[in-house]
């Protein structure tokens, strides 16, 4: 493993809710200031800023001005969704390695419940690929991604109960996490009786629309030596798509396999680790099935065995591969996956309290869009020694 050049030195977040009274700018600023303070920095040391958004957020030029950044040397706004949570980390790491910036803040701020809600595009959004979707009543992520789940069920016999284990186990984790939005225990009976959204998906298969923000500070590893918290190193990153990197997967040959098997091979090679080295996985779980799919795609089990792998208890806190100890997008919050990075950092700092994965030192984080995505491997104390 090569000596890691870039690390995450600060994290910040707001309260997660469904009905914030705060503006988007306030959310972005609060998370960013918390991350900057967590990194032990002053605002005037920050010289890089990057966010991703779905035309639903506050952009860098506004946040930079409001933060009072003195010298913005590198910035970018990406029009992208959950595929970009790890991509912004990769972009920031590249900017730092190239010497374009010293301290980069990455943020995602949204009012996903009280503001602009995903999938509610109305008939006005009929441009591009939507012209072939909207007339048939097809627009929401649950509808679009439900197609992949159904195909996997057909190919491999994946069951509703196996999806249910993902929801139930993640809810158990969320019960140990003060900032999680859904913390009441969820039983399998409740899961199976969930209101149908887009069959095969019911209410408990879907993540929750959230108001809130997360932010992360990255810097060169040698600049973080005196930071208040132990650095979390970026060991490798990947960001790409399959041969048809577009929702809703028109032309995709096999809907039971995502773009991730190819990207995972590249990521592991770059990071110098393999699936057996991963201590904790933050798998993008906008929907339950995505966890099952990524367990297969990242080599934790064979294709088609993701359902039984989950059913056998492997993804619990005491399992062979703890997944989403914070409760995930399903039960903690949906900050488009940037909250996965927050959790990975807390786990690798060994600061995750009751939900701490014992001995967590290498984490996988993913941002999943089925036909495209990003992923990173992060390393704790041993990576810096």
């Amino acid at each position: 493993m090569r000596s890691p050049a870039v690390c995450i030195s600060g994290i910040g977040y707001t309260k997660f809710s469904r009905s914030t009274q705060a503006s988007l700018a306030s959310l972005a600023l609060e998370a960013s200031l918390n991350a900057i303070a967590d990194a032990g920095l002053r605002v005037d040391q920050v010289d890089g800023l990057v966010c991703y958004h779905q035309n639903d957020s506050v952009l860098v030029r506004d946040v930079s001005t409001s933060l009072g950044i003195k010298e913005l040397r590198w910035w970018s706004d990406f029009l992208a969704g959950g595929t970009f949570n790890c991509a912004v980390i990769a972009q920031a790491a590249m900017a730092i390695e190239a010497g374009l910036a010293n301290y980069v803040v990455c943020y995602r701020a949204l009012r996903g419940r009280s503001g602009k809600r995903m999938g509610r595009y109305r008939a006005s959004l009929t441009d591009g690929v939507h012209q072939f979707m909207t007339p048939f009543g097809f627009s929401t992520p649950a509808q679009i991604f439900g197609m992949t789940c159904r195909r996997h069920m057909h190919e491999y016999g994946t069951t509703r109960a196996q999806l249910g284990y993902v929801a139930v186990i993640e809810r158990t984790h969320a019960g140990l996490n003060d900032r999680a939005m859904r913390r009441d225990p969820l039983t399998m009976e409740q899961y199976l009786g969930g209101r149908v959204i887009a069959d095969p998906y019911t209410l408990f298969d879907c993540c929750q629309e959230t108001d809130g923000a997360c932010a992360v500070v990255l810097t060169r590893a040698d600049r973080a030596r005196s930071a208040p918290h132990p650095p979390v190193y970026v060991l490798g990153a990947v960001h790409g798509g399959g041969d048809v990197p577009r929702v809703p997967f028109d032309g995709w040959r096999d809907l039971s396999v995502s773009a991730f098997p190819r990207l995972a091979t590249e990521l592991y090679a770059r990071a110098g680790v393999g699936p057996k080295d991963i201590d904790v996985a933050l798998l993008y779980d906008a929907f339950t099935f995505e966890v099952i799919q990524q367990l297969e795609d990242f080599g934790f089990c064979k294709p088609g065995e993701g359902g039984p792998f989950v059913e056998d208890g492997n993804i619990g806190l005491a399992g062979s591969l703890p997944v989403n100890p914070h409760g995930g997008l399903l039960s903690e919050a949906y900050i488009h996956g940037l909250n996965h990075i927050i959790e990975a950092v807390q786990q690798l700092r060994i600061e995750a309290g009751d939900r701490q994965v014992s001995g967590a030192d290498i984490a996988l984080v993913t941002g999943f869009g089925f036909c495209a995505g990003s992923a990173i491997v992060l390393g704790g104390a041993s990576a810096g020694s």
Binding site: R117, G119, R120, Y121, R122, A123, F132, M133, T134, P135, F136, G137, F138, S139, T140, A142, Q143, G146, M147, T148, R150, R151, H154, R195, V196, I197, A198, D199, P200, Y201, P248, D250, G251, W252, R253, L255
Partner: protein, 80 residues
């Protein structure tokens, strides 16, 4: 084109947030694979069939739903 197809995957939409033209809820949105070319699929509705009876591999055929005087949508129903 033959107008025939096979259901490749589908969802049954119960929770409607953007109204399309399907008149009833729940309704089925499916990827329909066309026999003319491998992996050539069209997104459409499966109609004239109870939602619980739609399945992957089902043979379907095109029908045209007249939405307005000058606008029809290709939808699919079970093959006769």
């Amino acid at each position: 084109m033959s107008g025939s197809g096979t259901v490749y995957s589908f969802v049954v939409v119960h929770h409607v947030v953007t109204a399309g033209f399907p008149p009833d809820v729940p309704y089925v949105v499916a990827w329909i694979e066309l026999p003319e070319q491998a992996a050539l699929r069209i997104l459409s509705n499966v109609v004239d069939c109870p939602t619980g009876d739609v399945y992957i591999g089902q043979q379907v055929e095109v029908a045209f739903l007249d939405v307005a005087a000058d606008f029809s949508l290709p939808v699919f129903r079970p093959a006769s």
